[in-house]
């Protein structure tokens, strides 16, 4: 058999290593390059469909697209230009579109593919022109502007006379795009849940047409790249990968399409080339997809470049011991069912270096060779990670660093039904602790307290007002939208106002998995420091928002309610001054 070079491997590597700018992942590059065997990747996204619809109208509105580098702003601009009948877009054309519009049916469209590329003056000028057109429907000028949110806000802060423009931009960025607005739609691509595209992307990357050439390669049987491509076509594994992405999104991280492409390319190739694999020595188990996906210790360079990989590495999947899982891995299974599954999982495949793992494992169990025994233990993190992706006996979330992932998942699955009462009470208790910074035991009401933090004596938090647990709902709300691929369900806290409040609008507050974890841990006695950096500010903002909305307007100045340390816990006390100017303890 001849030496074979699979051109798709090179294609993938262009995403990850060759140029420092990951040029392959840039839209401009893709548009100009030679397509691979199964054609270039064309993700079907709602936002693209929406934009094309919008611009097919006779009088389209202006559109601002905000998002990170890699969210697809340039790509979308290019697609819109196509519908306007524009030829192949070049650098020169981009530049000219800022001041010389492209016309169609009386609409004059100015396109700014990157507001940050313009000077500050020019940027302000564009926004100024946009602002002017807002109030003037007869104005035929329309704008399609792609920008980073930071730059946009900075330029707006320098245009104080364009208050209306700032207001509508702010409002749409905070509350979602107003897709029926006829003058200006502001879409924040940061809201796109890239996890939605995981299956489609992996399907394309593992398309058999791309791997056909491997059949002829003599290194075929020891090649981890080919193995990875094969495995990642498996639905169960794809689903697990998607879960990981969803988890990151639930943590509040935004992943761009570019991030994902680079990440998956590396997951498959591990930064290796056909030649390197063909010339490589024996043990290639470290290049398996479930090591690449978290970044490998021997490739610090890639880890540094890929933000997504760093985020996943933080989860430390496989690095912590879980007794049941470790026992399963090392013992080979206790029951015959388990043994069967173990044999299927840890057979003679590339990722366990064929017979190596089982040999080491047996040496460990038999207690024979000391150095080999140590090797068996070295396999543990590796095997745990494999179980995360393909194990069927143990729940994968045992390997995640969350204590309340199961409860979170339960909430997810039961969205629409009433939440389990016990979980809600625990949550309320945790929230009480987070607000008051004391280990309270209340779980029937949510107490909004205030206290003087630097008292030289023990603080007695004053209760500003309280909300009964019946007013509180915790559930996964459907947040899907037609025009954009966002997370389908988001954890929401819905709090109805107490009787003492004038304001009758309930408060809706979105939570991520970290905030949920933070609060639940507090409820079971956890330390205030855990996850404080990530969550404390958010919780404080929730409290401030509750005070702003629900603080009683007619203060009962004759009642004071407070928590007092008594014996082993904080107890609620109430004092009132009645009509006869007497003090009443209640």
């Amino acid at each position: 058999m001849a030496r074979v070079q699979n051109p798709f491997v090179d294609y993938l590597n262009r995403y990850t290593t060759a140029s420092p700018n990951h040029e392959a992942a840039f839209d401009e590059y893709i548009a100009a390059a030679q397509p691979p065997a199964a054609g270039p990747l064309r993700l079907q996204t709602k936002i693209e469909r929406f934009l094309l619809e919008v611009y097919n109208k006779d009088r389209p509105p202006s559109v601002i697209l905000t998002g990170n580098a890699g969210d697809g702003k340039t790509y979308l601009c290019r697609q819109v230009l196509r519908t306007f009948g524009s030829p192949q877009v070049s650098d020169l054309l981009w530049e000219s579109l800022v001041d010389r519009p492209i016309e169609r049916n009386g609409t004059r469209l100015f396109v700014v593919k990157d507001l940050s590329e313009l000077s500050e003056e020019k940027g302000k000028e564009i926004l100024d022109r946009l602002g002017e057109g807002l109030n003037n429907p007869a104005n035929p000028n329309r704008y399609l502007i792609a920008a980073n949110e930071g730059r946009l806000r900075q330029l707006l802060s320098g245009l104080p006379h364009r208050g209306e423009l700032s207001q509508t931009i702010n409002h749409q960025l905070e509350n979602g795009a107003e897709i029926t607005n006829e003058s200006l739609i502001v879409i924040n691509l940061n809201r796109v849940a890239t996890s939605t595209f995981v299956p489609e992307t992996l399907r394309w990357m593992t398309d058999p047409r791309h791997w056909h050439d491997c059949q002829q390669c003599h290194a075929r049987d020891k090649c981890p790249i080919r193995y990875n491509a094969e495995q990642l076509a498996n639905n169960e594994i794809v689903s697990r990968v998607q879960t990981l992405y969803q988890l990151l999104e639930a943590i509040g991280e935004h992943l761009t399409v570019r991030d994902m492409l680079i990440h998956f390319a590396y997951t498959i190739s591990g930064g290796q080339t056909c030649r390197k694999i063909q010339q490589a020595g024996s043990d290639l188990s470290q290049f398996v997809y479930y090591e690449n996906i978290f970044g490998r210790a021997d490739d610090e360079g890639f880890r540094r470049k890929s933000h997504l990989t760093q985020l996943l590495a933080r989860l430390q999947i496989g690095q912590h011991s879980s007794f049941e899982i470790d026992e399963f891995i090392l013992s080979g299974g206790k029951t015959s069912d388990e043994t069967f599954i173990h044999q299927k999982l840890f057979g003679e495949t590339i990722d366990v270096n064929f017979k190596q793992f089982n040999q080491d494992r047996r040496a460990y169990l038999e207690g024979s060779d000391n150095s080999r025994a140590q090797d068996a233990l070295k396999w543990l993190p590796h095997c745990r990670r494999k179980i995360f992706f393909t194990g069927s006996i143990h729940h994968y979330y045992r390997l995640l660093p969350f204590r309340f992932f199961q409860e979170y998942h339960q909430l997810y699955r039961s969205s629409g039904e009433r939440i389990d009462e016990q979980t809600l009470r625990l949550f309320v208790k945790g929230l009480n602790r987070a607000f008051s910074r004391l280990y309270l035991h209340e779980d029937q009401h949510l107490y909004i307290t205030a206290q003087y933090l630097h008292s030289v004596n023990q603080p007695h938090p004053l209760v500003l007002f309280r909300i009964p647990i019946d007013n509180i709902r915790l559930f996964f709300d459907e947040t899907a939208a037609d025009y954009i691929d966002v997370t389908r369900y988001t954890l929401c806290l819905d709090i109805s106002p107490p009787r003492t409040s004038q304001n009758q609008e309930p408060l809706k507050w979105r939570l991520g998995i970290l905030q949920f974890e933070y609060i639940m841990r507090l409820a079971v006695g956890g330390n205030f420091a855990i996850l404080a950096t990530e969550c404390e500010l958010d919780i404080r903002r929730l409290k401030d928002e509750l005070i702003k909305r629900f603080a009683p307007t007619t203060l009962d100045q004759h009642v004071v309610e407070f928590f007092m340390p008594a014996r082993s816990r904080y107890e609620l006390r109430r004092l009132r001054i009645n009509e006869h100017r007497k003090i009443v303890a209640e």
């Binding site: 998002g67 990170n68 580098a69 940050s116 980073n148 949110e149 930071g150 730059r151 806000r153 900075q154 802060s157 940061n190 205030a450 206290q451 003087y452 933090l453 630097h454 008292s455 030289v456 004596n457 023990q458 603080p459 007695h460 004053l462 500003l464 950096t533 500010l537 404080r540 903002r541 401030d544 005070i547 702003k548 203060l555 009962d556 100045q557 004759h558 009642v559 004071v560 407070f562 007092m564 006390r573 004092l575 001054i577 009645n578 100017r581 007497k582 003090i583 009443v584 303890a585």
Partner: protein, 545 residues
């Protein structure tokens, strides 16, 4: 001399007062600036601009019943049988004020006492009459009191027949050991700063009124009920005590207006009262420190204050050390130098003052009367100078006699100045020069609290306070603009841009990189404190928390 406030012609003001007004003193706790300020304001019915005429006194509610109830217990430092009895009387009366129900009245009283005491802001090992509460409500403001001679003598007389009025006798309110007039000074500063802006004056007064009366009304009610119960035990209810303020120099100084502006913007917030007051306390002390540095600046001159140029010329140079690892040591030592420099400025200011006086006298007096004039000058400032100091001073004077008669020389004048400094500057060194350090440490401007290399830092609360004075409600600005504004207004130096403006690179052999990293760490601090949002393209916008 141009002053604002009540300047007593025949009073012997020490040197530092003539430079920095009457007065600031080091034994005033940082929170007491807030307490005194608010008390004076309330004492003038929430109006600024009073106190310039001799008859304008502010009233001070005594609240002795309340204070004893909260603070006087068996652990009290200065036990007094009169107070024992007073507390007993009050509690007996209070029991009748508690509704009979399933809860024990004594226990209820105990709860109230503990609740109110949980707002104690200074206990230290002071006597009950010098302890204070955080002003969660106007009725919790307690002015420093003193039972005459209580630390020296123990009252041994019989008390059983004493009336409530008798028991309160001999407690006075003008000791000014802790409420040492720093808060008064601030009241005058804000009054002077809003002299030509009645709208701002109104707004500030109104915000403070709301802070002290709109929230925590129930606490205020409780406190009021307790004190009233004590009043009911007396034959005639208390008259409020009274006080009159000191004074500040250069009423037109633009710095006062800047302070008023800061205050105005800070008070426009939607925080709860307790948090708002805490930030206010930080701002007041920060302003006091800036005020000290401003007038100590080598180029400070009253004529500058008239024109408004003083803000630019006399800007301090507060190089802030944002801690990190590695080579932040460089910034740390530069910052420590700056702190020493700002203290040195004060010392030299005093010296300059004396020198100017001596030179003026030398100009106007023939040599043979020179020393007598000097002695007269000393007498004018210090009536009761201690004997030992006086002796040394006299000795020095006598040794100068022969030299003076020979004619004025610069060297001789310097020696006279030095000798005068020793005598007249004693109070300054003992009680004034440490004010800025003490306050600085309390508000998080100077670190460490104890330990080597004290330098300028920015604690989280102070940082939050300054963000809220620089950025009005509802607005944002870029990080760069924020740094520029901090420098323009307060002389705060963090990054290379401001370091260059203050000409740091010329004077010390550092490079930009050190300051750039300092600035980067500061950005991260602000992010963690929720004051800054950084977008994916690295644009950083500062906003209120």
């Amino acid at each position: 001399m141009n002053v604002y406030g009540q300047f007593q012609r025949d009073e012997k003001y020490p040197l530092e007062a003539l430079i920095w007004g009457h007065r600031l003193r080091d034994n005033q706790h940082w929170i007491e600036y807030l307490l005194e300020f608010l008390s004076v304001l309330v004492g003038y019915d929430y109006s600024f601009g009073r106190g310039t005429q001799p008859h304008q006194k502010y009233r001070i509610p005594k609240r002795l019943g309340l204070r004893r109830f909260i603070f006087y217990d068996k652990y009290e430092k200065t036990q007094d049988s009169r107070d024992d009895r007073a507390v007993k009387m009050l509690r007996e009366a209070l029991v009748n004020k508690v509704e009979q129900n399933k809860y024990d009245a004594e226990a209820t009283l105990q709860q109230i006492q503990v609740l109110l005491r949980s707002f104690a802001v200074i206990e230290d090992n002071r006597s009950w009459y010098a302890k204070s509460l955080f002003p969660a409500h106007e009725n919790l403001l307690l002015w420093e009191a003193l039972r005459k001679r209580s630390t020296k003598d123990t009252y041994r007389g019989p008390v059983d027949h004493f009336s409530a009025d008798d028991l309160d006798e001999s407690i006075e309110f003008n000791a000014r050991n802790f409420f040492a007039r720093g808060g008064e000074l601030y009241y005058l500063i804000i009054s002077a700063g809003t002299e030509h802006d009645s709208e701002r004056r109104e707004r500030i007064a109104r915000s403070l009124w709301r802070l002290l009366t709109e929230q925590n009304q129930s606490l205020g009610e409780l406190a009021s009920l307790i004190d009233q119960t004590w009043q009911e035990q007396k034959q005639s209810p208390d008259n409020d005590a009274q006080g009159s303020p000191g004074w500040i120099p250069d009423p037109d100084c633009k710095l006062y207006q800047q302070f008023a502006e800061d205050l105005d913007i800070l008070l426009d917030n939607s925080l709860d009262a307790l948090e708002s007051l805490e930030l206010l306390a930080h701002l007041i002390c920060f302003h006091v420190i800036l005020y000290i540095y401003h007038r100590a600046h080598p180029q400070h001159d009253p004529s500058l204050c008239q024109t408004g140029k003083c803000l630019d010329v006399c800007r301090p140079e507060l190089l802030i050390d944002i801690p990190g690892d590695e080579e932040s040591q460089k910034v740390r030592s530069l910052s420590a130098n700056q702190l020493r420099l700002h203290e040195q400025w004060q010392v030299e200011r005093v010296r300059r003052y004396i020198k100017a006086k001596v030179e003026a006298i030398a100009k106007q007096t023939p040599p043979d009367q020179f020393l007598d004039q000097i002695r007269a000058e000393v007498d004018r400032y210090l009536g009761g100078i201690r004997r030992k100091g006086r002796e040394q001073f006299e000795k020095n004077m006598q040794s100068f006699e022969p030299k003076v008669l020979a004619g004025y020389t610069a060297h001789m004048l310097d020696q006279v100045v030095e000798s005068l400094d020793e005598v007249m500057g004693r109070n300054f060194r003992d009680h004034f020069v440490s004010v800025h350090r003490r306050l600085g440490r309390s508000i998080g401007l100077i670190a460490p609290l104890r330990g080597p290399q004290p330098r300028f830092v920015l604690g989280d609360n102070l940082l939050k306070t300054l963000t809220m004075t620089v950025i009005p409600a509802g607005k944002t600005m870029t990080f760069g603009q924020f740094l520029e504004t901090l420098y323009a207004r307060y002389g705060i130096i963090i990054g290379p841009g401001e370091a260059r403006k203050a000409q740091f690179f010329k004077r010390s052999r550092t490079n930009e990189g050190v300051f750039a990293r300092n600035r980067d760490r500061f950005l991260l601090r602000m992010k963690l404190a929720g004051l800054l949002t950084q977008y994916s393209d690295a644009t950083a916008m500062v906003h209120r928390p």
